[in-house]
């Protein structure tokens, strides 16, 4: 096992899978010669050549839409959209086209398409680069929405995504690209979708998070431990499919829950987490499930983003209120 950053884990998944399966092709803006604006695809052009790694025109809609066509032709495309905020430009191809192609064709065609895209705040990017709009893709049945939080999952889930016969939106936490490190096996392994993971045990409250918010929850849990509150941290890992069972049992075991996400509060995926818990674990809940999220405003400009993205303090506060409720 080697220690890798998120970006290294992603790059190694791409490299290995392209070597293993010659149907895999990579496409996106600046992914060739430059190796991607974050170097996720660094070296791929050199290793696999210009017939498998494509610098695309600046048009997200056709990056997504042509990936569907490539899949129908028999290839296995892995597309990069430079930032999740620019999937807005491809929304009409992702939600009503790629996600529905199996359904529309009643199983004749499937869209084995992976769309990789970074998102999330805290790194002082210009407008629209940090938008956490993952929940908007959850209402696109047919699509899977995958949210790795660490290098191990990033590699294993990216391999799973590329091999999944159905389309996957694979969201990468920008902030974690170089900051989050972890052990990553060299060879082939996959992390199945729909299986959440407890990253820290605790009996007083369950913190539910995904992507970069997992580290936030863990930091909050450390802080809480100092004051004697033991928080369990649950990494959802995938929003679609949602691990209802894992979620429910993690929360039932503590009776209290705080959901943490980077997207604005209203209609963020946290709402679904709460609604699901409320339906499935109603009688185990000892206090209202709290949500710690960004406010209902656009992502602000760099100098004030730290007041926007949920902080350890806000999580700690919410947990304190939740454990003391009733």
């Amino acid at each position: 096992m080697a220690t890798m950053t998120m970006i290294e884990a992603i790059r190694s998944a791409l490299r290995e899978e392209m070597a293993r399966d010659e149907r895999v092709v990579a496409l996106g803006q600046d992914i060739g010669q430059l190796g991607g604006v974050f170097r996720a695809t660094d070296g791929l052009l050199k290793e696999f050549g210009a017939d498998r790694v494509f610098d695309m025109p600046l048009a997200e809609g056709v990056i997504a839409g042509s990936a569907l066509g490539l899949a129908v032709s028999g290839l296995v495309p892995v597309a990069e959209i430079q930032f999740l905020g620019f999937t807005h430009q491809a929304f009409h191809q992702i939600a009503p086209q790629i996600a529905r192609y199996r359904y529309r064709s009643q199983g004749r065609y499937n869209a084995q398409v992976t769309i990789r895209t970074p998102f999330g705040g805290g790194v002082r990017t210009p407008e629209l680069h940090s938008d956490a709009i993952e929940a908007q893709f959850v209402q696109a049945p047919g699509l899977k929405v995958v949210m790795p939080s660490n290098p191990y999952d990033a590699k294993g889930m990216l391999l799973e995504a590329i091999r999944d016969p159905d389309p996957v939106l694979f969201c990468e936490p920008l902030r974690g690209y170089r900051l989050v490190k972890g052990e990553v096996p060299e060879g082939d392994y996959t992390v199945p979708f729909g299986q959440s993971r407890v990253t820290r045990e605790g009996s007083d409250v369950t913190l539910v998070a995904w992507s970069a918010a997992v580290q936030l929850a863990e930091r909050a849990a450390e802080r809480l431990a100092e004051e004697g509150i033991e928080a369990k941290v649950l990494d959802l890992r995938t929003l679609v499919p949602l691990d209802v069972e894992g979620l429910v049992s993690a929360v039932e075991s503590t009776g209290r829950c705080v959901v943490v996400h980077e997207a604005p509060l209203t209609a963020g995926f946290g709402a679904e987490v709460v609604a699901t818990l409320q339906e499935e674990a109603f009688y185990s809940l000892e206090a209202p499930v709290a949500r710690v999220a960004a406010p209902d405003t656009p992502y602000p400009i760099a100098s004030i983003e730290d007041y926007y993205v949920p902080s350890v303090e806000r999580v700690v506060d919410a947990v304190r209120r939740t454990v003391s409720a009733k």
Binding site: A59, G69, L75, R102, S105, Q106, D164, D166, L242
Partner: protein
């Protein structure tokens, strides 16, 4: 506001509008002198040109055109009887659809349709009963049979064009000699997808023929409100590949232009944009009332440009057609259409469970639970 109609004479505007609309319709046929035309409205071949198809091929093409017209009539009547959903007729565009499809090889080439190409996709292998089933609202109609190289009909206009480019590009990467023909309307051409797709096709030299059916209308919107360009074919230059204009009511011109484009694509020459200038001889679909926006002359005046009439006139001039032949062919078509309708109506009725199938290869547990709950309650 400038140039606002005076309140006491609001009609002027409406009148002006109608006049300009009539002009529009004419204008959409005024090619820049470079429109490919072979077969004249009177059925003669224009001087200096020649028929690009054999008499046998023409009879075969005519059969598809007549089949298309027959299906239109029957489908509209089925819709009126509540036996069919919304239906978009091909009427007027038969030469455009059939002529272009005849340049394709169903064994290796692909069609990526919009929704107004019935005889083309059926000739390419999509069964007629299945096609009708789709418009009857049966999910089974959505399934293109295995081996048939046609993508699903597209409702979101122009969204099929990026798919066609990806498909063609992917086939080329895999060393195939297949060509992808994708269809779209004058209306669809205004969508961003149309631009992004053609531009990418140029960059990748994808073997794609963009077949733009300019039928003068997008529902009620005339061509001149769709674009200020003199024609659509000129867009191709901005993508680095050839654009051509053909008389879309001329089977020979359409076929000839398509054959050349397909050949170019097949031999590595990249994409072509073909603007087929045709005319929608009727309503947009069965929900539409064209008398609200078309003048009676527009609705009837196109009969002389009827693409079918031209072809029969030519066949007659070749002594390859007469009333008997017509009766016989029509009778055969009627039987075929009857059978297709019967077969579609006899098809297994839709099943609520089909809501849940083909969403994922391996459905999330939550979706399985929803399916179980629904089946318990039905």
């Amino acid at each position: 506001m400038t140039a606002q109609p005076t309140a006491d004479d609001p009609k002027t505007e409406a009148e002006l509008d109608l006049e300009s609309k009539q002009e529009d319709v004419e204008r959409s046929f005024a090619g820049p002198g470079e429109r490919l035309e072979i077969l004249s409205p009177d059925g003669t071949v224009r001087p200096g040109t020649e028929a690009p198809m054999s008499t046998e091929q023409v009879r075969d093409a005519l059969r598809w055109m007549m089949l298309s017209r027959t299906v239109d009539v029957r489908a509209i009547s089925l819709q009126r009887q509540g036996r069919m959903g919304t239906f978009s007729a091909v009427r007027g565009q038969e030469a455009s659809v059939v002529g272009s499809s005849f340049a394709l090889d169903p064994a290796r080439d692909w069609i990526v349709p919009q929704y107004r190409e019935l005889p083309g996709v059926v000739r390419h292998g999509f069964p007629l009963d299945g096609y009708l089933l789709y418009w009857m609202g049966n999910p089974a109609g959505g399934r293109v049979p295995d081996g048939v190289k046609v993508l699903p009909l597209q409702i979101a206009l122009a969204a099929q064009l990026p798919h066609a480019v990806g498909l063609g590009w992917g086939l080329k990467l895999q060393g195939s000699e297949s060509v992808v023909a994708t269809y779209f309307g004058d209306g669809a051409s205004s969508e961003g997808d149309s631009h992004e797709a053609m531009n990418l096709a140029g960059v990748m030299r994808a073997p794609v023929v963009f077949f733009l059916q300019n039928n003068g209308w997008a529902i009620s919107t005339p061509r001149t409100k769709q674009t200020a360009a003199a024609n659509f074919a000129s867009r191709a230059e901005g993508y680095g590949f050839p654009g051509v204009i053909v008389d879309g009511n001329d089977l020979f011109a359409v076929y000839a232009a398509m054959r050349e484009a397909v050949e170019r694509a097949r031999t590595g020459g990249g994409p072509t944009l073909i603007e087929s200038q045709t005319y929608r001889m009727g309503a947009h679909n069965t929900a539409d009332d064209p008398t609200r926006y078309m003048e009676p002359v527009e609705l009837s005046g196109w009969d002389e440009r009827d693409p079918i009439r031209r072809v029969t006139a030519w066949l007659r001039s070749q002594d390859a057609w007469d009333d008997d032949a017509e009766r016989e062919m029509q009778a055969g078509i009627d039987r075929q259409v009857d059978e297709a309708i019967e077969s579609a109506e006899a098809f297994a009725p839709p099943n609520p469970e089909q809501i849940y199938t083909h969403v994922y290869a391996d459905p999330p547990e939550r979706l399985r639970a929803q399916q179980r709950a629904a089946l318990d309650s039905h």
